[in-house]
């Protein structure tokens, strides 16, 4: 009897040790490629980053200076259009799934979102091309942003749903008990409480679309000039990076690495800024 509990408590201790060790090991292993990839980009990219890189237009091989100012602006505009398309669908769709999506309809919509997430982005690009480029007979930032917006939808929907579901039920009920309409409770109490988690999902998807090349080549196209018009071809960092990366010239390779580094830096800044200004909610 006595012996048995002792063995059990020993077993519990071993399990606990094993659990802690495994978890720490996982974190360590996950960090290795992280540092390797980011370090690789940093080492390759830092030498070509200077003020010109952010303000000047691309220049041909052999010319000195130049940057990808237009592509940096273009990436922001394209991501903005993508958010206009992707966020309402993702967030409201996610809220509906969490609040009302228990039945068959919810299952069907959830399933559709998952299927959408595995479609290669180049195919999403083909879709946007057929809808908005082939019909209008010219490339446009809108078509590119539309494609990127569709790519955002599954991640945003999924995270919104999960985070809204995670909000303690008593918070919701307390709101209803005060006589506040359900929709106001959902938007003002539940959504706000869930916002931190949702934000992570939104950031992940914005980060991801900022790094997409394939869906833009046939939609937003690219341009070496300044252009803010959303009905015209628009430059993006990724297409510019891709063009440079596949070219034979070392000067362009350096620009490609600098572009990748800048992209990482932009996402880092947005994440840190928004995290700073949005307070984390602690559940008790």
């Amino acid at each position: 009897m006595e012996n048995n509990t002792e063995i059990q408590s020993k077993l519990r201790k071993i399990k606990e040790r094993f659990f802690l060790a495994a978890v720490v090991l996982c974190a360590l292993i996950a960090v290795v490629p992280l540092f390797s990839v980011i370090g690789y980009v940093f080492i390759k990219g830092i030498s070509a980053v200077n003020l010109d890189f952010f303000t000047k237009l691309p220049v041909p091989v052999g010319d000195i200076g130049g940057g990808m100012g237009n592509a940096i602006v273009g990436t922001f505009i394209l991501s903005g259009i993508a958010c206009l398309v992707g966020l309402p669908v993702g967030i409201f769709g996610g809220i509906w799934l969490a609040q009302f999506g228990k039945g068959k309809r919810g299952f069907f919509i959830r399933y559709s979102a998952d299927v959408l997430s595995s479609i290669p982005t180049i195919v999403i690009g083909i879709f946007a091309y057929v809808l908005l480029v082939a019909t209008l007979k010219h490339f446009s930032a809108v078509a590119g942003g539309f494609a990127l917006g569709i790519i955002m939808i599954p991640t945003v929907t999924r995270t919104t749903e999960e985070m809204v579901k995670m909000v303690p039920r008593n918070l919701y009920e307390a709101g209803l008990a005060l006589g506040i309409p359900e929709w106001k409770v959902t938007l003002h109490i539940v959504f706000r409480t869930a916002w931190n988690g949702i934000f992570t999902g939104v950031m992940l998807s914005v980060a991801r679309i900022m790094g997409e090349t394939a869906p833009l080549i046939f939609t937003a196209f690219n341009t070496p000039y300044w252009s803010l018009r959303v009905d015209q071809p628009m430059a993006s960092m990724t297409v510019t990076i891709y063009n440079y990366a596949i070219s034979p010239f070392a000067e362009w390779h350096a620009q490609a690495w600098a572009g990748s580094l800048t992209l990482v830096f932009i996402v880092l800044s947005i994440t840190l800024l928004v995290r700073k200004f949005s307070k984390r909610v602690v559940y008790t």
Binding site: P60, L84, V133, F139, V142, I217, N222
Partner: protein
């Protein structure tokens, strides 16, 4: 909200067509992308006409050109008759620059590899599997080949480079012609595929024993070791800009090509050209335009631009490691450009 937003955007898009007439859009082959960027930058500084060319791939360029999304296309492979019909039947091929495809390798202890067409085809067919194969040694007296498996690296993406390379192999090897054939993407009998020049060059760099093909300019700027290839005249030629130009000159001497040029057909095949100094794997790249331009303003801008790249523009070609067009061809092409109906 989104629908409204899109509707506004689309209507502005439709209304704005006229305001942008001085912009020319082109899309297609990635191989000439660096020189087109150079030309467009200089030309727009000089004239104010904005030309925007993007390397989305020859096939993509041809499709955008036939569906009227872009004003001109770019292609590393000439259009087939079916493609010309699909584009409206009035397609003019304007050659712009030439380039060579080089065989690059990575083998410790070997620096001056020489290959002839049989051995090259044998390697890419997967028949010659090891560097110590007697067929390789026979071409390279004095070199010491290790017992090392050959790793063939080829392009996995469809590309003009592949088209030129496989066209050469099909020309010189019956086995290649019957088993594989020539095209922008083929069913490779051996090896691994890398995406783009960078993908193939990467495979070669990290694998001892690898062999593959890339554009000449890529090999030159990245200091890859290249093989000398035996040309039609029986000499081993190292790929350079000079030996590329020599191949073009050699090809122009043939009566068949002379006839094509004088009839205004510029879909010239420069592979395995005669001439003692000719490098054997050489191709050209084309801009595709309609012979009958619908929009007068754009048509005029396009003709002026083409004339400029065929005359003043050619001086920038060799610094970006392309071979310029022989002057005999250039004058004929200029005549054809002048014949474009606006």
């Amino acid at each position: 909200m989104i629908k409204k937003f899109l509707a506004v955007l689309i209507s502005t898009a439709l209304l704005s067509g006229a305001a942008f007439a001085a912009t020319l859009n082109g899309a297609g082959a990635t191989f000439p992308y660096p020189i087109y960027v150079k030309w467009n930058s200089i030309y727009s500084n000089k004239t104010g006409v904005q030309v925007n060319y993007q390397g989305i791939g020859s096939g993509g360029g041809i499709r955008q050109f036939s569906s009227g999304v872009v004003d001109f296309g770019g292609s590393d492979a000439p259009l087939t008759e079916a493609q010309i019909d699909a584009a409206g039947g009035d397609v003019l091929h304007i050659p712009t620059v030439m380039g060579a495809v080089v065989v690059s390798y990575n083998l410790q202890g070997v620096s001056g590899l020489k290959l002839d067409s049989d051995v090259l085809a044998g390697i890419f067919l997967g028949k010659i599997k090891n560097w110590n194969d007697p067929a390789v040694a026979a071409l390279n007296p004095g070199e010491n080949f290790p017992d090392k498996a050959i790793l063939v690296a080829h392009r996995s993406d469809g590309s003009g480079t592949t088209s030129i390379f496989t066209d050469y192999l099909a020309k010189v090897s019956l086995k290649w012609a019957s088993q594989v054939g020539a095209g922008t993407a083929v069913s490779w009998p051996a090896g691994v595929g890398g995406k783009g020049n960078a993908g193939v060059a990467g495979q070669i760099k990290v694998n001892d024993g690898a062999i593959g093909y890339v554009e000449l300019s890529y090999a030159m700027t990245n200091n890859l070791s290249v093989a000398a290839l035996k040309n039609k005249a029986g000499r081993y030629i190292v790929p350079t800009l000079d030996s590329t130009s020599a191949a073009a000159d050699g090809a122009m001497a043939s009566s068949k090509i002379k006839k094509m040029i004088s009839s205004g057909d510029f879909r010239l095949n420069l592979n395995n050209a005669p001439g003692v100094d000719s490098y054997p794997i050489v191709g050209m790249t084309w801009i595709l335009v309609h012979k009958n331009q619908k929009d007068a303003e754009k048509g005029r801008a396009l003709v002026d631009y083409l004339k400029w790249i065929l005359s003043d523009g050619q001086q920038y070609v060799s610094e970006l490691l392309y071979a310029p067009l022989p002057s005999s061809v250039r004058s004929k092409v200029l005549n054809a450009v002048n014949g474009i109906k606006i």
